[in-house]
């Protein structure tokens, strides 16, 4: 490597490092320890990769690995954390936020005395207020935040056409000014004896009384109105007789979400049926899209075929339209009474098919629609992979006297399979979690008679998870995260097993 290249490298690394250190200081100040740890690990890896000879391959991998860790690995770890909490409806906020919520909740509207007001401001952006009680008619002036009773004869007041326009060098604020200053004014607290008075709207002040008080030493919340003491139990402030105050807060609950999955018979029972169909759906999807995509790729890779560029372009259209729209279109086309598909069947064969109402036909429909959605992907990767097959091999096969079918069978197909086998495994995993096509086409339906869980005939594990976590009482993120980990474990295991086969394939290819 040239001297300038080395210098450039060190300079660049220095810049990146100093930027990193600068950010790290910021993170220390903000006490974001998790982010700090991530940053330090990332910086160390970067330096190691650039400076160490042994880590040479890492230099190529790191640019891709950094966003991968940040945007894929990190959210998964967060998800793992969430799986052990009660995060969800009723338990969304942190404990601090909940305490703040209760402490800023007041007695209103009971006995809150109200005041109309006028606001005045001096040149130093300091405010005073003239308050008139709506109940007693008493006039108050705020001085240093404390109310004193005044009369309109007060010598400090300057009148103009019957209105007070100035007090002690403070000028009266117009309505427009008030509007713009509401953000500042909402923080103002005035005091009268023990009471706190604050702004409620542009028209009035009110006496506020705090209803709940949080005792930091005891960690309990007291309702000052009733005297009931609430202690934090399982993510909510709970009274001695079991009343739980809403909102609750997020707490760790150990393996509770996982135990719920195992112990609740309603959830566990349909699991294997759903799993079987998920597996079948994913396998069928991969098989059908691959066969079709591959056949088309072979057909359209043929240099003798006229208009093949145009054909290819037209055939990727299903891929060019966002999935959620084409699935909705398909749902309309497969409508049992009004859909075009049944209308054509009716005209041609005098019969119709209950596409989305019959469990079996609904399954056929999702596989068919998924084929429509997915074959262009397979076609494109096969087109790419076909280019990697060396022409010398064909020449050799031809010299050996192989016909075109034999060349296809002995050369094209096996070699192509080697390069795209991992993609097939990936595609299987993708379809295993293909929420969109199920949710938008059949909604998991048709439902199964007598089922005690929201698991329809075409529900796959991921849509079943969705139904369980978000189709019940509010949204249960912690529970969803727990199931997602289980699904992840399943699909990772299946894939790892699949890879034992592709590994064998790869050995062959490396021998080439």
């Amino acid at each position: 490597m040239s001297m300038t290249a080395i210098l450039a490298k060190i300079l660049l690394l220095g810049v990146v490092d100093s930027l990193g250190v600068w950010t790290a200081v910021g993170l220390v100040v903000a006490q974001r320890w998790g982010m700090l740890a991530g940053l330090v690990v990332g910086l160390l890896a970067l330096n190691y990769a650039v400076l160490s000879k042994r880590a040479y391959p890492l230099r190529y991998l790191l640019p891709g690995l950094i966003p991968f860790c940040l945007m894929v690995v990190y959210p998964i770890t967060v998800n793992m954390g969430v799986a052990f909490t009660n995060f969800g409806t009723g338990h969304r906020l942190t404990k601090e936020q909940v305490i703040d919520h209760f402490e800023s909740r007041f007695y209103l509207p009971e006995d809150g005395e109200r005041f109309t007001f006028q606001a005045f401001r001096d040149h130093e952006e300091d405010f005073i207020f003239l308050l008139v009680s709506k109940e007693t008619g008493t006039t108050y002036l705020s001085a240093e935040g404390i109310l004193e009773i005044v009369t309109l004869e007060d010598s400090r007041f300057v009148f103009d056409r019957g209105e007070i326009v100035q007090i002690n060098g403070y000028y009266r604020l117009s309505r427009g000014e008030l509007f713009r200053l509401l953000g500042q004014l909402q923080e103002i607290r005035l005091e009268r004896n023990e009471e706190v008075i604050r702004l409620t709207s542009i028209r009035e002040f009110r006496v506020y009384q705090q209803r709940y008080h949080y005792d930091r030493e005891q960690g309990t919340l007291t309702d000052l109105k009733t005297g009931i003491i609430y202690t934090p139990i399982a993510g909510a402030f709970t009274s001695a007789d079991g009343e739980r105050l809403l909102p609750g807060f997020v707490v760790r609950i150990g393996f509770q979400n996982f135990l719920e999955i195992i112990n609740n018979p309603h959830i566990a029972r349909p699991f294997f049926r759903v799993f079987r169909w998920t597996f079948a759906f994913a396998a069928l999807s991969v098989a059908t899209t691959f066969v079709l995509g591959f056949s088309l790729a072979v057909l359209l890779n043929d240099p003798h075929l006229k208009m093949r560029h145009l054909y290819r372009t037209i055939l990727i259209i299903p891929y060019a339209i966002p999935g959620f729209i084409s699935i909705l279109i398909w749902a309309g086309m497969l409508n049992v009474d009004f859909g075009i598909v049944n209308r054509i069947l009716q005209d041609l064969f005098g019969t119709t098919i209950p596409w989305l109402h019959d469990p079996l036909w609904a399954k056929v429909a999702v596989v068919l629609v998924n084929l429509w959605l997915g074959f262009p992907y397979m076609m494109i990767i096969c087109l790419g992979a076909l280019q990697s097959i060396p022409s010398e091999l064909y020449e050799a096969a031809r010299i050996d006297g192989a016909g075109s079918w034999q060349r296809f069978r002995k050369v094209t197909f096996p070699l192509l399979l080697i390069s795209i086998a991992p993609l097939l495994v990936g595609s299987f995993a993708f379809n295993f979690n293909n929420f969109n096509v199920i949710y938008l086409l059949t909604g998991g339906g048709p439902p199964i008679p007598g089922a005690m869980t929201p698991a329809g005939a075409t529900d796959i594990l991921i849509s079943y998870t969705y139904n369980l976590a978000f189709g019940g009482v509010g949204a249960q993120y912690g529970f969803a995260a727990a199931i997602s980990l289980i699904i992840f474990a399943i699909i990772a295991t299946i894939s790892a097993i699949n890879f034992r086969f592709t590994r064998r394939l790869e050995r062959i290819s490396e021998g080439l």
């Binding site: 391959p57 991998l61 088309l296 339209i321 429509w372 969803a480």
Partner: protein
């Protein structure tokens, strides 16, 4: 692999392709039909509506509340950048995995793929909060920025793509780079000057896949982007059909038709790269 066809063979092949095109294009005709239907319905009874209108198309470009042109441009920007960077990152990674032997290579490759299999839908909240935190320190990379969205897309750059690319690199003979390195080139130079040009077909494939994948994605951007002017095409499109009983199918279908054009353009212009690289030019029949 291919021989010249007899006339019958030719006709057969074209018929086969035409049958597939019919299957492909059928739903698209419905979308088009809805886009020129003055009623707001997706399920008219006729292919060609009684009254044909182009108002939905016009509305897309004239209604300032739906800056459709801007949405398209945003999408092209986001997908274009994400795809280019993805291709580069993937090529780098795949090169290392194909050419170097190091500890953890096999495991790493497997891990890359397995980790990608996590149902991303459920990681959304985490991604949202992560971008929120990042945005507090680096505003241009936070929520509601295209750079932030691209960064999330780059997270998925490795994984499946790396496998595809690595398999392709594996088939490129090593002696080409070796001779270059004998001539004094570094590994990196050999990668840039020898491998990348040879791998053009697969680079094109990954570009196309990433472009389309990000272009039609609505899940991520609908969570990360909130300003109407920041929307990508797919997110904007979803707005039209989100009201429970207030779907605007007409304008939605029109947007859908126009939105497919950039993908077509990208695919058409990259097709020429889908032909083998330098060493194996002519597969003469």
């Amino acid at each position: 692999m291919y021989s010249r066809h007899t006339l019958l063979g030719k006709i057969f092949r074209h018929l086969l392709v035409w049958a597939m095109i019919a299957f492909t294009i059928f739903p698209v005709i419905w979308i088009f039909s809805a886009s020129i239907n003055p009623g707001n319905t997706l399920f008219g009874l006729r292919f060609i509506p009684q009254v044909v209108t182009w108002n939905h198309y016009l509305d897309l470009f004239t209604n300032p509340l739906h800056p459709f042109g801007l949405w398209l441009w945003n999408s092209i920007k986001v997908s274009g950048t994400a795809s280019l960077v993805t291709v580069f990152l993937t090529a780098l990674g795949a090169y290392a995995l194909s050419r170097f032997r190091f500890r953890g290579r096999r495991t790493g490759l497997l891990a890359l793929l397995l980790i990608q299999m996590f149902p991303q839908m459920l990681a959304m909240v985490a991604i949202y909060l992560l971008l929120l935190s990042i945005g507090r320190y680096i505003p241009w990379l936070g929520l509601n920025t295209h750079a932030g969205l691209i960064m999330v897309y780059l997270g998925g750059a490795m994984g499946f793509n790396t496998w595809l690319m690595k398999s392709y690199f594996d088939t490129i003979p090593h002696d080409l780079e070796e001779s270059a390195m004998v001539d004094g080139a570094t590994h990196f130079q050999a990668f840039l000057r020898i491998i990348l040009p040879l791998a053009r077909p697969i680079l094109a494939v990954i570009f196309i896949l990433t472009f389309i994948g990000t272009y039609s994605d609505f899940l991520l951007p609908s969570i990360l982007l909130t300003g109407t002017r920041q929307f990508t095409f797919a997110v904007g499109l979803r707005l039209f059909i989100q009201g429970q009983y207030a779907t605007r199918w007409g304008i939605f279908a029109a947007a859908c038709m126009l939105g497919a054009i950039p993908i077509m353009v990208v695919f058409l212009s990259l097709q020429r790269f889908l032909i083998s690289g330098l060493t194996r030019g002519g597969v003469k029949g």
